[in-house]
């Protein structure tokens, strides 16, 4: 339940801070999308990429330089 409370707070405060209005249906959808995506976002953020040398202005049509 704590996770749910934190999620509700994250969504509600985030939307309020940006001035985005959301009705009950919006909130239900946002909650469902958050539940699907957020764990993966957290996993992404936890990935150690410190050794990845940036590729400035990558040309996606070609192999990396």
């Amino acid at each position: 339940m704590e996770g749910t409370a934190q999620t509700d707070q994250f969504i509600a405060s985030g939307l309020a801070a940006l001035g985005i209005e959301a009705d009950e249906v919006d909130l239900a959808v946002i909650g469902a999308v958050h539940q699907l995506l957020w764990p993966a976002v957290v996993e992404l953020l936890a990935l150690d990429t410190a050794a990845v040398e940036p590729e400035p202005c990558p040309d996606l049509s070609k192999a990396p330089r």
Binding site: L37, L44, L60, S61, K62
Partner: protein, 457 residues
């Protein structure tokens, strides 16, 4: 010639037109009649414009697609119609104009006969949601046709046209190709016409791509979209990389078996070899691609716009658009680092293999009513499952192709091949080799709806 010209493949239809065996005006009328007859069951085509099509045909230059009726996804503007992106409203302005794919088709002599349905805002792999109502899978109208290029795929699989132009930002050509039993090419980033797409100036993922019955047809239409010939080769000695990890193995048994058989058949046909390779972090890479396309698509969107969304935008689209504003910038920055990491890993892998093969989608088309697939890991939302295997090509820029390799419960199963940057033609070569290996069994398979007696045409 014998048989209905509408039931020929793309290149056969083009050849029959070029040889004068088929009258282009009659073919256009027949295609419009076919759409009128079959489309109510498919909802693949959301708009036709017979007079515009006839004008296009009247002015058509001689070209590789002279007189061939085609469908284009509701993602590009036409001179007489702005794209709607499968939605009641876009948060960016659009207007009728000559888009790149339109020009490419026009200059090749093709006739655009209709606009193809698509998943609302391009934001889904199933096609289950659209402003126009969902398109239906010709193999089973209760099933998803795949997305976001749902209408183009259903149009071709349903025999309305022989080829269609889709767009692929996270797999949106390959997923519907897989669900509908077609061949779909996602070209190398930047290679195919994209002008006029509302995200063309900002996207680093989306490309236009062909959906056709087989690889040779995709080569023809893909060459037109790329503005250059994708030459045919033989894929001899093909080195096929396969990944065996939790993500690539989390597929239904039927999909696994069909793809394993296809890989072995491809190896045999090309006298090639199969090499097991390691490509970790596919799941974070998929999320990274979602974050990148999110940041590219939401640029310029204001909270006020989100407070004034069109009332007919679906609840899912409304909520998702608002949620996207909450995603942290740090995650998007991390996503670009993961992109670099995956690009370097792929560059190293392509030193040792020519293609990387895995199932295009982990399960056949789910029901439109509930787009969830049953995987070994448990029930999974189809979008979440599909993006794992589709997004890598977009986030790194490499080309990829989906090829039908079987049926499971009467629904198509597909193998995806991914190649190095610029290896689009090699992927087509490999797909053709696979067709040869299985006697064209799967590319020539037609859904019941497209096998209706000729009295209808």
């Amino acid at each position: 010639m014998s048989g209905d010209p509408l039931d020929l493949g793309l290149r056969a239809q083009a050849a029959a037109l070029a040889a004068g065996e088929v009258d282009p005006g009659e073919l256009l009328d027949a295609a419009l009649a076919r759409i009128e007859q079959r489309n109510p069951a498919l909802n693949a085509v959301v708009e036709t414009f017979p007079e515009r099509s006839r004008e296009m045909l009247a002015a058509a230059p001689s070209g590789p697609l002279h007189g061939v009726p085609l469908v284009i996804k509701d993602e590009w503007p036409l001179p007489w119609r702005a794209q709607r992106f499968g939605a009641a409203e876009l948060t960016v302005p659009t207007a009728p104009e000559e888009s790149g794919p339109y020009r490419a088709l026009r200059d090749a002599g093709a006739t655009i006969v209709g606009v193809g349905n698509m998943h609302e805002l391009g934001a889904g792999s199933t096609g289950a949601t659209s402003f126009y109502g969902p398109a239906h899978n010709p193999w089973d109208p209760e099933r998803c046709p795949g997305g976001s290029s749902s209408g183009p795929a259903a149009s071709v699989a349903g025999g309305l046209v022989t080829g269609a132009v889709g767009a692929d930002g996270l797999g949106s050509v390959r997923f519907p190709a897989a669900y509908c039993g077609l061949t779909g090419l996602k070209p190398t980033f930047g290679r195919a016409a994209m002008e006029g797409h509302h995200m063309a100036p900002t996207t680093s993922l989306i490309v236009s791509g062909p959906l056709c019955a087989d690889a040779a047809d995709c080569r023809l239409l893909g060459s037109v979209l790329c503005g250059e010939k994708l030459p045919a080769g033989d894929a001899a000695g093909l080195r096929i990389g396969v990944v065996r990890d939790a993500v690539s193995e989390d597929v239904t048994p039927d999909v696994r078996e069909a793809c394993e058989q296809a890989i072995e058949a491809l190896r045999g046909e090309t006298s090639g070899e199969v090499r097991e390779i390691e490509l970790p972090d596919l799941e974070p890479a998929a999320v990274a691609a979602i974050l990148i396309i999110n940041s590219e698509s939401m640029g310029g969107t204001t909270p006020q716009q989100l407070n004034e969304l069109h009332p007919e935008l679906s609840p899912v689209a409304r909520g998702t658009l608002k949620y996207r504003m909450l995603l942290p910038a740090a995650a998007t920055v991390q996503a670009t680092r993961v992109r670099t990491m995956m690009r370097r890993r792929l560059a190293a892998l392509f030193e040792g293999v020519d293609v990387i093969a895995w199932p295009t989608v982990p399960a056949p088309a789910p029901p439109l009513e509930a787009p969830v697939v049953a995987l070994p890991s448990g029930p999974t939302v189809a979008d979440q499952a599909n993006v794992r295997g589709g997004a890598l090509a977009n986030m790194t820029g490499i080309p990829a192709i989906s090829v039908p390799v079987g049926l499971s419960g009467g629904l198509p199963v597909a193998l995806q091949l991914q190649g190095a940057w610029g290896a689009d033609a090699l992927l087509l070569d490999a797909a053709e080799a696979l067709e040869r290996a299985n006697g064209r069994r799967w590319v020539d398979a037609r859904p019941p709806l497209a096998q209706v007696a000729p009295t209808e045409a």
